[in-house]
């Protein structure tokens, strides 16, 4: 049977299917459940310096092609987070997602995460619907560069930079983030939902993030563009619902993937389904390990012949 283990930066992972930030990861109990049910690793909900209640409900809206959300970065704040994870048994399999409004906040958060015994952070440089943080920070290449330099300079954390697809030039942003150990592509697309009978917006915050099957073609393009230019380690995310979707990301250069919205359709069996489908695909297509297909469609000339 083909091996589906993988590696992101210095992190070796049993399997490449990770839990995305913001879905079923507000409580340590659910993070543990994902790991038990087959996730290779899990990313936490994005944590900030202080407690945030997020937006009023409605914070999600299911649509035909996916999901709209504006949860509003609700989180208990870093100190409560650290307290909750004091005795957590699997810290090496947890990637702590952090968000901040400036270099200093990111710096505080990263140091605290490291002290608390974690060794990986995912930087949320891309949440599209909260003022002053997320993509408002992450669309500024200089700030992105500074934040990453600061964290890499003062901690020994592995740093994953989660970038926004809502930009004119994603590759330029990726280059600004090149000191990161890996890129996570993509966060949600800025979007709106409308209710035609109440004539109100679907989300209390009006603007939200769009995830699920409908954003997959954009996510694939992001992975392709960035991998082609940087050949760095990439975690693909955006609309992955089946093992076939996952294979598409690997072929374009992702070494691991994250799943979020797919929980609505597949729930926890998503991990075993993707892992099994992937391993069967590798076997039947004659590959012995996942690595053999990573980026094959992008490596020079591989797509000639169309």
């Amino acid at each position: 049977m083909a091996s589906i283990s993988t590696r992101i930066g210095t992190f070796s992972i049993e399997n490449p299917v990770l839990l995305a930030s913001g879905i079923l990861d507000e409580t340590s109990g659910s993070i543990l459940r994902s790991l038990r049910e087959g996730a290779g690793a899990a990313v936490t909900k994005s944590i900030g310096v202080t407690e945030r209640k997020g937006y009023s409900t409605p914070v999600i809206s299911e649509i035909k092609t996916g999901l709209l959300n504006a949860v509003g970065l609700s989180n208990p704040g870093i100190e409560n987070f650290v307290e909750e994870y004091k005795n957590f048994p699997e810290k090496r399999k947890v990637v702590v997602s952090i968000f901040g409004g400036n270099v200093e906040e990111f710096s505080i958060l990263a140091r605290r995460v490291e002290q608390a015994g974690f060794d990986k952070v995912e930087l949320n440089l891309s949440c599209p619907h909260v003022k002053g943080v997320g993509s408002e920070v992450g669309q500024d290449p200089e700030l992105v560069e500074e934040i990453i330099a600061e964290i890499k300079g003062h901690t020994s954390l592995q740093v994953w930079a989660k970038l926004s697809p809502n930009v004119t030039d994603l590759v330029a942003l990726a280059k600004a983030a090149q000191k990161a150990d890996a890129y996570v592509l993509i966060n949600t697309l800025r979007a709106i939902g409308v209710e035609i009978y109440s004539r109100k917006f679907s989300l209390s915050n009006v603007v939200g993030g769009y995830s699920g099957p409908g954003i997959k073609p954009v996510a694939l393009r992001a992975v392709y563009d960035v991998y082609k230019e940087t050949q760095k380690d990439i975690v693909g995310v955006g609309g992955i619902t089946t093992w076939e979707d996952a294979v598409e990301f690997f072929l374009l250069g992702a070494r691991a993937i994250e799943v979020g919205t797919a929980f609505i359709y597949e729930d926890y069996p998503i991990y075993s389904k993707i892992n099994k489908g992937l391993s069967d695909y590798l076997d039947s297509e004659g590959f012995s390990r996942l690595d053999d297909i990573v980026g094959v469609m992008v490596k020079d000339g591989a797509f000639k012949g169309h």
Binding site: G29, S30, R33, K53, P58, V59, I60, G77
Partner: protein
């Protein structure tokens, strides 16, 4: 979101209302809607009647429930769902144990399957949807048994084959603690936690990694016993842990 129109709103007591609405919704007893009206938040609400037309019964806690209580016949009303699992079908002798608005959820069941109903409230004025022969407990003794519905029920526990429970977390916790492990009845409990999504992805309702909205809301007593967080702490809107002060809900 779906929408439907209010058929009528009936006042049950000083702050409890039943809203019947015009919709061909197909739901089973124990399921809930995520309900929204302009001017409010989106809130989870059990169906207190799953026949057609269906109904909800609610207490006016805050802005949303107040906004709902102000609707008139013919007004629109918006929802998602029904969500959550449902109460299993009983056989043999049946009891229902309701604390506070927990009776709303159990009511849909009571309408379908006869059984002895045990209802608890703080005081007489808080009672609603009372049927003939209901066993009532009030904290202040203003109606029925003086004490908690748990204390009223416990001596009768041995009589039943199926027991359905819905009420405040501290009440359920007390019930579980006081019931012996050797009780013969099958006991099903509908839990309530803060809910944001209602469809199992936001994690705000989870207890020990188990989602009340999607894995429940109804669990058997052993599942609830295994939740080490149950009755100990809940979470606020930020996800922060807040410990229960004993007796407070």
């Amino acid at each position: 979101m779906e929408h439907s129109r209010v058929i009528e709103i009936t006042r049950q007591n000083k702050d409890v209302f039943t809203l019947r609405f015009d919709s061909s919704i197909k739901a089973k007893p124990g399921q809930f809607l995520m309900l929204w009206v302009p001017g409010g938040k989106e809130v989870p609400m059990s169906l207190s009647d799953t026949s057609n037309p269906a109904a909800i019964t609610f207490r006016t806690f805050g802005e949303t429930t107040r906004a709902i209580s102000l609707l008139k016949a013919g007004d629109r009303f918006y929802y998602r769902g029904p969500y959550g699992n449902s109460y299993p079908v009983p056989s043999g002798k049946v009891a229902y144990i309701a604390g506070g608005t927990g009776l709303a959820s159990l009511n849909a069941m009571i309408m379908k399957y006869a059984g002895d109903v045990f209802v608890g409230a703080r005081t007489k004025e808080d009672l609603f949807l009372l049927g003939d022969g209901y066993n009532v407990a009030t904290d202040d003794g203003s109606a029925g048994f003086k004490g908690t519905v748990v204390d009223l029920f416990i001596p009768n526990a041995w009589k039943y084959d199926y027991v359905y429970v819905c009420g405040p977390e501290q009440m359920v916790k007390a019930l579980i603690d006081k019931l012996g492990k050797d009780i013969k009845a099958r006991i099903y409990i509908s839990l309530e936690r803060l809910m944001k999504c209602g469809i199992g992805i936001c994690d705000s309702c989870s207890i020990n990694g188990i989602r009340v909205c999607r894995d429940g809301t109804i669990f058997n007593i052993d599942q609830v016993r295994n939740m080490s967080e149950f009755g100990v702490f809940k979470r606020n809107e930020s996800g922060k842990i807040e410990f229960f002060v004993n007796g407070k809900r």
